[in-house]
Amino acid sequence: MFKRILIIFALVTAISLPAYAELTGENFTLTGAFKNETGMRLKDSLTGLNKLKNTLELAGEYDIKDDDLVFFIKTKYGYDSMYDTRKKYDFAEHYMRHTQRSDWLRDCYIDYTKDQWFFRLGKQQVAWGQADGITILDRVNPVDLSEYWLPDMSDLRIPLWMANINYSPKLNANLQILFIPDFEASTAAPAGAPYAFRSVTAFDNANKLAMHSLQVQNRFPGKQFDNSTFGLQWQDMIGDLTYTLNFLNGYYYNARTVRIGTSTLYNRSFKRWRMYGGSINKTFTNPGPMQGITMRGDFAYYNDEPIYYGNPSIASTSGIKRWDNIFWLIGFDKTFFTNWLASFQFSQYIYQDSKVKDAGITALTQYPFNSYTYGAQDQVENIFTLKISTDFKNERLKPEILWSFTDDNQGRISPKATYEIKDNIWLTLGMHYFYGSEYDSNGQFRDENQVYTTLKITF
């Protein structure tokens, strides 16, 4: 019933308010969007509906004192009707059918600007780094992977309540201080959902075999000052090269279930870690063979990163180690042939070691796990992405293709095309094609290739 009301409200609002300007006052702006996402699992041919989600977004900005003091709020509520029609997914519906808990509140903050100071106080997301779609420095917020890495990054990040304080001591330089007393764990799809990780499914299967006797104890950080996350970013320019230096000290947002001895109890305990890093970006603007190329780079040193290990063949976790790992990326962008943009990224995730090397456990259970699949993790994971985009018909039609892959012969190819039907009606047609071993991040979804449409009506 609720979803019907939601859909009717969204449609009526969208149709009756064709121009965004009508909701805009002198100090107040309200916008909204109704989005329908329909997905089809290719393997099931015409009966394979695996997404029928309607989402309503509302965003408002109120200028309390010109542009110096501004309140901003954005809300989003989604309902996936697929879980009403497809019994197959019923056991995931409690989590996937509608927006969970307070996730409907996407932004809620006050901006205050005074001379060289800028404060953003409230629920928000902060994006660090220059990488596209690969979170190297982008670790300030947890992520919601209930649809893998397929949604936009702004939808993947889980906003947190925080104080974001900025001071610009000189032109082009900025010191950002983050104080985050809030904590949310990164989330993944439950077993049975289209993009449930193999590890989640494996645990669920084990639980079924054990007659649902397995119990998971979540050990979230206590709500006290010491458990807050702190972040620092210094940004400046040397010539025309922009660089940042970053530091984050807080709780790691991912935790895996680790069995306590031989009991039916499993611990899911969140650990503290630190990230030191930096980023660069530069466009070669001077005449020469490099002219027009933009170079981007991220580097991060993860100190005390929680690494789970065990026997990958049975996807069972034996324990947890705290390793110092390195994750870095370099990317290049260039526009060719008038309006074809090519963007290439190469990245390496380098683990401290290839095995846990603990004499107290058997050799078979010493492998570090891929955090998504519980498959064996390479000590050096090489990741590549290539994105090509262009436009036609005066930017009305925008096709693009993203190919993301690793050196393990696994990856994802995602072509899509967006067409602007009217100012406030946009249609996207796309596909996600996964390939590789089921033990790999993308390969685990090789049977979940999907075609989808997105219809977005804004007001």
């Binding site: 901003f72 990054m153 702004s154 900025n166 610009s168 466009t283 603007t285 804004t458 007001f459």
Partner: protein, 295 residues
Amino acid sequence: MKRKVLLVLAMITLACGYLFAGELEYFNVYKPKAGMTADEIMQIKYFNKYTLFAQDISFTGKAYFIDKSGSTRERATARKRINLGRESDGIAYKDYTVFTGPTQVKGLCNLSWTYLNSDKQQDVWLWIPSLKKVRKISASQSDDSFLGSDFTVEDISTRRFGDETYKLVKEENFKGFTSDFYKKTYYKDTPCYVIEATPKRANWYYAKRLVWVDKQYGTNIYEEKYDSKGQKFQYIFRWYEIHNVSSKEYPIQMLLEGENLRSGHHTVIINETVEIDKGLSEQEFTEGALSRSRW
């Protein structure tokens, strides 16, 4: 007496030589004078195009993209520019453009820095709402469409004096332009220089432009583009409003209208409000400021 006249003429010649041998000095107002060469006229035209007479300028406006069938798409924008002409880091000016509507593109911001050295490309940053992140991007190619309009990037922001060779074809009274959008005729019988501009770049997307420059203010009010076969394939019209600021006359472009004659697609860009020399801070034109975007 004769010696005095010669001396004055020599000084004027020297002054003019200084003026046009290099860049025109920022924050002055220049107008064409009788007897100027095509190069001198075009230098003033570019000076006015990029509003280099002003310290800073802010616009709000709308763009309409109209296809052959009459289907119209709309964009609302807010733009700011700060002119620097600074030798120390070679920056000519900085531009900030944000889409304020429709909702689908609201919040998309673009920051660009343009350099005094015309061989140097712009530095460009983009705030991408779907990433909630600032991305340094590769500058658009000069022959790419500007934001989906019928104008190219260089028509709007990157073509500089010196990218073409210029020839004064004739002087005539402009026949007038009737705006499809406003149904009004502009600049009828306005005295103009007609200048032929030929790109220095080989095999460029146009072979020549004919440019009508208003004799009074040195503004480019109309132009036609021709391909290598001599076929006209595009026209662009610009209407300027004269603003008096500190007793100086600033020609401010308020309407830009053009058509691609091959596709029949039509673009109208209107500046609805304009603010000049309000003391904008350069701090507003930084990557840090861009990252404070909300939408």
